[in-house]
Every structure is written in structure tokens, then in C-alpha cells.
Symmetry: C2
Subunit: 328 residues, 2 copies
């Protein structure tokens, strides 16, 4: 097995010297374990948090140990009666070519629903689930709502746009630059503002002259404040990420948060795994949309385990369009 291990905890932006690619001999399987040859690895921004030695909603990576992350692979050896060689599985023992895993890596057999294997790492995995649950459960968005979503060309945002349209909502996206704006409109958004072309609020107020019912926040900052400014009565905000804060750590200047009171706005944070009990329902509905071609994804694919670290670091320099993946 070759695996990426965390050698030292990064201070600020992770450096290649914080990581090592280490080869270790495969151990004989224990009862209950399976051996998986990985086919696809996911790299995600949230993994940066696991590199700190801080208490959070996911435990930190251990120094000198292989890192974890979403992966899809094929069972090559099994001492677990639930899995047979040839089965495709989704699991959390990523960052390596071969995974020897028990229940702790949460392997799940991939249902045969006519979607490509990598789909389980984006639209049917963390990013699609984050979009689906955040929009429909956290924000309780429903047909007829006006939905605003930031980072709408990103992996999560582009799924939000498409789910909202399939559910009969009006969707206004925000993205940076003409190419991304065009992509968001191709996905079906009724409008998309270009935050690089000018301030967010006047553009949003023009695109949603009667205000917004739902805001799906991926960025915080100016976008969040514009959402407060345009919120209608009983608006709901699902807070998924605040990349503006990750980047600069400065306080957010919110001029319109006081509108929380007259609008009776509800703002709520969430994490994908809060809805674990509903994953089967999500897989069924979203799987049907993906298999039917109703939800698309853009991915950026790097090849080979050696490229995994570079793929991860590229998340912070905008090297990806849509979901970043590694193909082994």
C-alpha cells in the first residue's frame, strides 16, 4: 500500500513538506475486513481543518498515519460476508491506492443505478448531499421560493442550482467571471450575478426585485450581507461555508443583519452528516436525477496517487472547476 501521511501540522497554507507518500506492506486481512483497490479519491477543502490538532466536528488527522477521505474502489479480497471481490464500494479510506478496512471506514456497496463511479464522490456524495440537505432541509426551501446561492459554479453551488430548479424554485446564482456566470445559467439558473463585476447588493436587488426567501451561503461576507438586505418575511438562510472568512480571517462587516428582526429571518448552520439517517432517501431521489441526466456536474480530474497532494493544494488556488477528483 502507498498512502499519503501527514508529517507535520501546517501553519496557514499547507506546504508539500507537511506530507509524505509512504509505502507499507499489506497486512493479512482480519475477520470482518476487506481489501479495496481504490479507483477514485476525493480531495475537499474541509480536509484542511482535519490537519489542525483542534477539537471540531471531525477528529484531526494523526501525524504519521495515512490521511482519510472519501474514495471509491473495488473489493479485491474479503473476509466480510457482506462484500465479495468485484464489488464497488464507497468508503472513507482515501489518500491511498489500496485500503485495508473494517467498519470504521464505513464501506458501502454502490447500488447499480446507472451512474459513473466518480458520481458517488460528488453529486451522490458529500457535495451533492450538502446541496440537497442544506437547501431542502436546513433552509426548508419549497416550490415558488426565490433562492440565492453563492459560489454557484462550485461543486456544491451547482448542485443547489439544479436541485432548486427541479423543485420549482426561482434561482439566482453568484459566481466570479463571465465563464462561470455562463455555466450557472446553463445549469438553469434564472439569473446569475458576477461578483467580480461590481458590488453584490445592487446586482442582487435587481435580479430579485421582490427579495429572496432562501439564501444558501458558501462564502459569507459581502454576499451574506446582501442576502440580509434583500431577505423577505420568514426568509431562511442555510450556512454551508464562509470561504471569505477562511481566506482572510477578518471580521465580517454586516450592515443588514438587523433585518433579522422585522423579517423574522432564520439563519442556521449545518453539516452534511447531520442528515445521515436520510441518506437512502437522498440517494434515491438524487440518483434518479443524475441517472436521468437532469443533474450534471463539472469535475477536474488529476491522474495517479502521486498527484493527490497537488490536487488538494490546488483547491486553494482555484485550480479546479467544479469537483476536484483523483483517478487511480
Amino acid at each position: 500500500m502507498r498512502a499519503w501521511v501527514l508529517k507535520s501540522r501546517p501553519n496557514g497554507m499547507p506546504q508539500p513538506s507537511d506530507f509524505d507518500l509512504v509505502e507499507t506492506p499489506d497486512q493479512p486481512l482480519q475477520d470482518g475486513q476487506i481489501r479495496v483497490r481504490n479507483l477514485w479519491l476525493s480531495v475537499d477543502p474541509y480536509m484542511r481543518g482535519r490537519m489542525n490538532d483542534a477539537k471540531s466536528y471531525v477528529p484531526p488527522f494523526q501525524l504519521g498515519e495515512p490521511m482519510q477521505g472519501g474514495a471509491v474502489g473495488e473489493v479485491v479480497e474479503s473476509r466480510n460476508p457482506g462484500f465479495a471481490p468485484g464489488d464497488k464500494v464507497l468508503h472513507m479510506a482515501g489518500w491511498r491506492d489500496t485500503a485495508t478496512i473494517g467498519a470504521e471506514a464505513m464501506p458501502q456497496k454502490l447500488p447499480s443505478i446507472g451512474v459513473s463511479d466518480d458520481t458517488w464522490l460528488h453529486n451522490l456524495g458529500l457535495t451533492g448531499g450538502t446541496a440537497y440537505f442544506g437547501l431542502l432541509r436546513t433552509a426548508e426551501a419549497k416550490a415558488g421560493d426565490v433562492v440565492f446561492v453563492s459560489a454557484a459554479a462550485g461543486a456544491v453551488g451547482s448542485a443547489v442550482v439544479q436541485i432548486a430548479k427541479l423543485k420549482g424554485m426561482t434561482v439566482i446564482g453568484s459566481a466570479g467571471g463571465a465563464d462561470k456566470v455562463a455555466f450557472v445559467k446553463e445549469l438553469g439558473a434564472d439569473a446569475c450575478i458576477d461578483y467580480k463585476a461590481g458590488p453584490v447588493l445592487p446586482q442582487l436587488a435587481k435580479a430579485a426585485p421582490d427579495g429572496i426567501d432562501v439564501y444558501f451561503d458558501n462564502v459569507g461576507g459581502e454576499h451574506l450581507d446582501a442576502a440580509f438586505a434583500t431577505a423577505r418575511q420568514w426568509a431562511r438562510f442555510a450556512i454551508c461555508g464562509m470561504i471569505d472568512v477562511y481566506n482572510d480571517g477578518k471580521p465580517q462587516e454586516l450592515k443588514y443583519i438587523i433585518r433579522t428582526i422585522p423579517t423574522r429571518l432564520t439563519m442556521r448552520g449545518f453539516i452534511y452528516t447531520d442528515y445521515m439517517a436520510d441518506f437512502p432517501a437522498f440517494t434515491q431521489e438524487m440518483g434518479g436525477w443524475v441517472a436521468g441526466g437532469k443533474i450534471k456536474a463539472r469535475t477536474t480530474v488529476r491522474d495517479g496517487l502521486d498527484a493527490t497532494l497537488d490536487a488538494f493544494l490546488g483547491l486553494f488556488s482555484g485550480a479546479n472547476t467544479g469537483k476536484m477528483l483523483v483517478r487511480l
Copy 2:
């Protein structure tokens, strides 16, 4: 009838020249109307908003017409079979000595539950109801929760402190100055920080070393940010007011709002009248507490209709301790 009318819409801080005290002859009663001699008038900060010609959750005062507001009076004449002379009523035709009213002023007969008449304008009225519903319904606070409340010596905040203690919560208040801090502790708060004595966050972190479950916000700004910083998992914030914003209109600098995500925090705005359907249940529970001496109030009382404007303006210069009232 003598009544205060709005002569011109204030620009910024209201001035005496924006108002007039006008005398008009009483008109004969119409069917369904009652005549009430007012005994107590309420002046409240929210009335400032009604002086603007802006769409809000309450309609603006009309120029040249008597202003409205909570009042308690005694029926002196009735053409409504539901009311008889001598009945005490709570209604919305304040700012005047004699009110001639129909259903539009929402007169309600005061139940005989052994509380003083003015109680219906604070602990059994807007301020007590705001505290009760905001804490128990909007924030869904329950026994065992650690509750933080700002402006804890104010009319709403002091009710929050007492209700929370009666419901088995741990309560940390914030108030400005040693006298107010001592008062909040007398009300039963487990701790009270003095925001004039130093920054809020370190004081709150010390008073609530394991964090807070609920924040009842009356002020916004630094207090709100400290609440974000110390929020525990699944914390709930009820946003009642943001007096820091009313005062200076500057953007709020929130460094810790990003903690909304890992804590899955819910922040929600509310207005007392959202819970109108539950007023009877509130009156029963809160009335029992007030009649039993378990909830106290501090009031500042001015005498005479002529003093009403001065009482209202005093709200903005800190002339009141607790609820400001006018006795006729």
C-alpha cells in the same frame, strides 16, 4: 379628549417640535364602541419606527392623528355588550387621556388575577411577552440550558432572567455598571458581566466556561459576536433587538459568525405578536408568577399626559430604569 399627535416625521432623534398635544371634543359613541379613561400609558422604543413613513411590521403613525400605543384604562361609557362602565381594559389607543375605541384598538378586559393595573403594560404585556416567547419559543430554551441575555437590567432582559431561572436554566446577564449588575444578580442571575468594565468576550468566556446554549439578543454588536464565539453545539439565538445598531447605524463587525457552521447554530428574529395565538397561555403562566411575587419589575413612572412626550424621549437618553410608564 387630549391627545399627542405627530406633527412632522422626525429626522434622526425626535424633537419636541415634531409633536403636538391637541384637544378635541369627544364624539358620541357609535354602536360597538366604548369610551375609556386611560390610567396608564406605555412608551416604548419601537414607537420611534412608527414615526417614519416606511413599510414595516407595524404601520406608520399618520401625521396630524393621535399616536397609538399600549394603554390601560377604565370604561366610562359603552355601546358594546362585551364591556360595562367600570371594566378595566388593555388597548392600543394610548398617547391620550380619553380613548373612544372600537375593535381596531383591540380592547381586552383585564382578568382579575391580583396584579396591579400597570403590570399589563410590562410583565403581562409587550415586554414580558417578548421575553417569554423569545426565550421559550423562538430560542426553544429548556431546563439545563446556559442562557446569555444582554441588556439584562432592561424591561425585557430582566423578565428573561427571571423566566429562565423559574424554568431551571443557568443565566448569565450583561448590564452596564455596578448598580445594574447588582440588580440583575438580585433577580437571580447566576452571573452578570459588566460590559462597561471591559470587553464582553473574555468576561462571558469566564462566566460560561463550557459555552452557552441560548443567547437572547437585545443589543447586537460586540455582545452578539461574543455569543457566536461561545456558542455550544445546536445553540439557539433569539434576536429581539440590536440597540447598538439603532444608535450608530455602523456595520456590525462579527468575527465569530463562522462558528454558525460547526455548532449548527440557529439564529432567529421574532416579534411579540408572532405568538398572538398563545397570549392566553402566556397570561396564565406569567400572571401566576407575577401574582405570586416570583417575577418582579422595575418601572420608571412619570405623571400626567403632559409628561408623555418627555417620557418617550427619555428612552433614548437612559432616563428610565426598567419599564418607562406614564400614570394619568
